[in-house]
């Protein structure tokens, strides 16, 4: 594999579009772009628009983005799904959010699934009464600091006011912060709407609500890191080694108090731009905390991001320590790459996943000498592809308009002026396309049909997507790496993570089983010839 001619992307695109009904083709055309490799300005791509009904899509819903992605990884908030049982059930432990509470009494509700399990009479007569009971029962049984209520589709339709119930219950319980999320599945066009809703409510109800300033000289929040496969554990290790104080991670291996005190951080660094840039923006407006985009996927990116952080603090000792850490960790990185790269060099990959991962993981493939032929996001927006500078130009459509925009104001008491060096990039993100080669295909919200056509045409050595795509792709004889759940491996962030990834990818592209797919009697005409001769 790897040694075949790659067909022209425009031809593949045409072939794909030919199969679609005219209206669908017209729409999909704008979401499929052949990258021109322009580093200054990326081509325009259509993103964050509705999936066409009947198209087999990778996408999920708003509830999944809100409850599953953003709030899911927090261990001591009771996440109560208000709705029929399904939504709560499917988001129960399926996102690999690892967490490490202190031994003994520290709260950890991650392994529990809480639901109001609405029945038809609740749909007819309203579910608020049942919700109130459920909140009370959860409180009586678990005495949590906070309870988040997540609305599912029917809740929005029948008009249950989860926010009113939350307010009442907060007042009634006294020592438990109850807040709601209007994250009904039909809002928006993908999980992305749910991230936004989650961010808003976190900001309104939790962030900055406590005033216990954490100790530490260089205080940082990591935003958009969800501890899949232990990624946050690795970043915690690196931060500690470098002498950085991690106030809060949003929201991998996190807890309520870390959110509530996160406004004491001196810097926000953003990993997954799509899921949480809103929080970074709002914290900057209210508290003055500057933010920068980082990437801890890939050894070089990790080193670069650490240097950026150290440069921000502009402290000699910190800069030196960061250099020492990088130097120390790089030894093993280099050894591993030297050993594995001969087996991965020149191989090809495709990534269709998430809203930042399809960008970040290209870095790891680069380090292995692998080429990314095509990539795209499941729930990205244009800025994730083209860079934040186009945000003012993005047309706000009806689906985005119904997601609450909260007004954030500068807090006179808590606002701090931070020195921002001109040398650093602030609140900026160049997007995925600028980092991709000319001629690569960029496809937003790829469909199943398009996936199959790409595989047929390009025969990549590895395809990256999620569980729904995994076995489809593998049946075609191409290994699939899950980049949402990491195929139950990881961590892949940071230095140790990079090594894990190199090893996993090298294993996957050299695994012998792919040579066994074809049975010997199908492989050659020899057998037939023998029989014929006999």
């Amino acid at each position: 594999m790897g040694e075949h001619t790659i067909p022209a992307p425009e031809l593949i695109k045409e072939e794909i579009l030919a199969k679609y009904p005219t209206k669908v083709a017209r729409k999909r055309k704008k979401s499929m772009v052949t990258n021109d490799g322009n580093k200054d300005k990326a081509l325009e791509i259509q993103a964050n628009v509705r999936t066409v009904p009947g198209i087999i899509t990778q996408r999920g819903c708003t509830y999944a983005g809100c409850k599953g992605v953003v709030l899911g990884p927090t261990r001591d908030i009771i996440n109560l799904t208000h709705g029929p049982i399904g939504c709560g059930f499917y988001s129960w432990l399926t996102r690999r959010n690892q967490t490490k509470p202190a031994e003994g009494s520290e709260e950890n509700f991650m392994n529990y699934c809480f639901s109001t399990d609405m029945q038809d009479q609740n749909i007819v007569f309203g579910g608020e009464k049942k919700l109130r009971k459920a909140v009370q029962e959860a409180y009586d049984l678990f005495h949590p600091k906070a309870i988040g209520i997540f609305s599912t589709c029917p809740v929005g339709l029948i008009g249950d006011d989860v926010h009113a119930v939350a307010r009442e219950m907060t007042a009634e319980l006294g020592d438990c912060n109850v807040f709601g999320f209007s994250c009904e599945g039909y809002k928006g066009v993908s999980q992305s709407a749910g991230h936004h809703i989650a961010n808003n409510q976190l900001f309104k109800h939790v962030i900055g609500t406590q005033d216990k300033e954490p100790e530490g000289k260089f205080k940082v929040n990591i935003l958009g890191e969800y501890n899949i496969g232990g990624d946050a554990f690795e970043l915690e290790r690196i931060f500690e080694k470098a002498g950085l104080t991690l106030v809060s991670t949003f929201s991998g291996n996190s807890h309520y108090n870390s959110f509530a005190n996160s406004h004491f951080a001196d810097l926000n660094v953003v990993m997954c731009h799509r899921s949480i840039n809103y929080v970074a923006e709002m914290m900057e407006t209210k508290y003055g905390i500057p933010w920068m985009k980082v990437n801890f996927i890939g050894a070089e990116s990790t080193a670069k991001s650490l240097r950026k952080i150290a440069e921000y603090f502009d402290d000699k000792e910190l800069i030196q320590r960061v250099e020492e850490v990088i130097k120390e960790e790089t030894i093993q990185i280099e050894e591993t790459v030297a050993k594995l790269r001969p087996n991965t060099e020149g191989k090809t990959a495709m990534l269709f996943v998430g809203g930042s991962r399809a960008h970040h993981y290209q870095e790891l493939f680069n380090e292995l000498g692998m080429k990314t032929l095509a990539a795209g996001y499941e729930f990205g927006h244009r800025d994730d592809y083209e860079g934040r500078e186009i945000i003012p130009d993005i047309k706000v459509d009806a689906d985005s308009r119904n997601i609450e925009e909260i007004k954030v104001e500068k807090s006179d008491e808590e606002f701090r002026d931070y020195t921002k060096s001109d040398k650093l990039e602030w609140s900026e993100y160049g997007g995925m396309m600028r980092d991709m080669e000319s001629g690569s295909l960029v496809i937003d919200d790829i469909s199943h049909y398009e996936t199959e056509k790409l595989i047929e045409a390009y025969k990549p050595d590895i395809f990256c997507a999620g569980i729904k795509e995994k076995y489809v792709v593998q049946k075609s004889g191409v290994p699939l790496k899950q980049l949402h759940s990491y195929d139950y491996g990881g961590p892949y962030a940071g230095f140790v993570g990079a090594i894990n990834f190199y090893k996993d990818i090298e294993r996957m592209v050299t695994t012998r089983v792919w040579d066994l797919v074809e049975a010997p009697w199908e492989k050659s005409t020899q057998v037939e010839a023998q029989y014929a001769a006999g």
């Binding site: 066409v52 087999i56 029945q119 749909i123 039909y186 689906d399």
Partner: protein
């Protein structure tokens, strides 16, 4: 402790379900639809439902699970989903070319009152359904029943839309297997075949959700009951419906619509339920039971007598789906085990009645609960009260098993963390042997692990 907040004191709950032993109807409808050859399931609602159901089924079967969605956004939720579904039907036939689309509703489309039947008639009238192709549908709001009743609804839809009595008998027996694994469906077919009983099994996910890897993805794998067979089911001589929760409705409708007599049996789990299945097959088709069944049955009985000491009196907690738990409880009782705590989230009075009858018949002082708040939190609380020797249930049981240090047999849906369940049957005498082997393996491992060195033994 993973479930560190669970205590033994049981407090009555009315609003809160914690760690459910059920999920929602549409996932069952999707699974059933995959058991029709050339069928693309379609979820009429917002994308998330479809994504979650495809993920859940994929993680359990480790196979491609294809399905379309109407991709509702707020507009569709306000104005109704007709336009979305019409567009979806057109797109699906154009792009994916299935023989049949099986549409199920979600809580969203049900709440806004979309009438699937009417919309699909319109699709037909508008010429969006190509000649010779079909669309069937089932109402599956998630706030009613469970994944099992959703499965039942789609099987019923197969009869409703397709089965016809032509007046000419096909000489076959209809077999409705309920929600069981692809290998179990294969096993049911195989038992009937060995008996010499011509049959129509529906749905049939064998060779669909355990398809081979041959270097090419088949959108519609070779397996599944064909549309022709589903039509012909109306001409069969008899229907055996396995499991009242998942299979009775379809059998009843087939009786009403096409006059095919039926009987509801338990899913053939364990010795007695398999005996009843084989007897019924023999009676309805007028065939003798071949001698190899006697040998197969005898081998299972032989192993049980050999190993009886390890099973006798062991207390078991089980959770899962009602159609499977009923015969499984009976089988455990026949093994002289004590299934003392039995929990199913799926509502329906028949379940508690049957389990209580079994408790009474075998003299067991056990607890059973299903329906509202019958969840794993309650089961765990019961376990904490008095302890058990074995836990049986789906993957989610591993948290209880680890906290309570219990041998744990994975059984039911979903199983996300092991393989084998879709390949090695637990039905029939052969499947009974597998269940016994698994349980014994757990107890033997436990004994080996816990034995002090001086009592560690080679032969067991």
């Amino acid at each position: 402790m993973l479930l560190r907040h669970t205590t033994a004191d049981v407090v009555e709950r009315e609003g809160l379900t914690i760690n459910p032993v059920k999920t929602c109807q549409p996932v069952g409808a999707m699974y059933a639809a995959l058991g029709i050859h050339g069928c693309l399931p379609h979820s009429h609602g917002s994308q998330g439902c479809c994504a979650y159901h495809r993920s859940a089924l994929t993680r359990h079967y480790k196979e491609p699970v294809m399905a379309g969605t109407s991709s509702f956004t707020e507009g569709a939720s306000v104005f109704g989903g007709q336009a979305n579904l019409l567009q979806a039907v057109n797109n699906i036939f154009t792009i994916y070319d299935p023989e049949i689309i099986a549409v199920h509703s979600t809580c969203l489309s049900e709440t806004i009152g979309d009438d699937l039947n009417q919309i699909l008639i319109k699709a037909q009238e508008d010429g969006k359904v190509p000649e010779g192709k079909s669309v069937i549908s089932a109402p599956t709001p998630s706030y009613v029943g469970s994944h099992i009743t959703g499965f039942s609804a789609m099987v019923e839809a197969m009869v409703k839309y397709l089965s016809i009595n032509s007046g000419k008998s096909n000489g076959k027996v209809n077999l409705i297997p309920g929600w069981v694994e692809p290998c179990d469906m294969r096993q049911i077919k195989s038992i009937a075949k060995r008996m010499g009983v011509e049959n129509i099994l529906f749905p049939d996910t064998s060779d669909v959700l355990d398809a081979p890897l041959i270097g090419k993805h088949q959108m519609y794998p070779d397996g599944g009951v064909t549309k022709e067979e589903l039509v012909s089911a109306g001409d069969s001589i008899f229907t055996i419906a396995m499991g009242s929760f998942a299979s009775e409705q379809a059998a009843k409708l087939l009786n009403k619509k096409c006059n095919v007599d039926y009987e509801v049996l338990d899913i053939p789990v364990g010795i007695k339920a398999t005996d009843r299945f084989i007897m019924k097959l023999s009676q309805t088709a007028g065939v003798e039971v071949p001698s190899d069944f006697k040998s197969e049955r005898g081998r299972l009985v032989d192993v049980i007598t050999d190993q009886e000491q390890y099973l006798h009196g062991k207390r078991v907690a089980i959770f899962g789906d009602p159609d499977q738990l009923i015969p499984l409880t009976e089988f455990l009782l026949d093994l002289n085990m004590e299934p003392v705590y039995v929990v199913s989230g799926t509502p329906g009075k028949y379940f508690e009645k049957r389990i209580k009858e079994l408790f009474e018949q075998y003299g067991i002082d056990g607890k059973v609960k299903n329906g509202p708040q019958a969840d794993m939190f309650l089961l765990h609380q019961w376990i904490k009260e008095q302890g058990v020797d074995l836990l049986i249930g789906n993957t989610y049981g591993k948290y209880i098993a680890r906290d309570e240090d219990l041998p744990f047999l994975r059984y039911g849906f979903p199983i996300y963390d092991r393989v084998g369940h879709s390949y090695f049957t637990t039905l029939g005498y052969e499947g009974g042997l597998r269940i016994v082997e698994k349980i014994l393996g757990l107890f033997h491992d436990r004994q080996d692990r816990d034995a002090p060195e001086e009592r560690f033994e080679l032969v067991m």
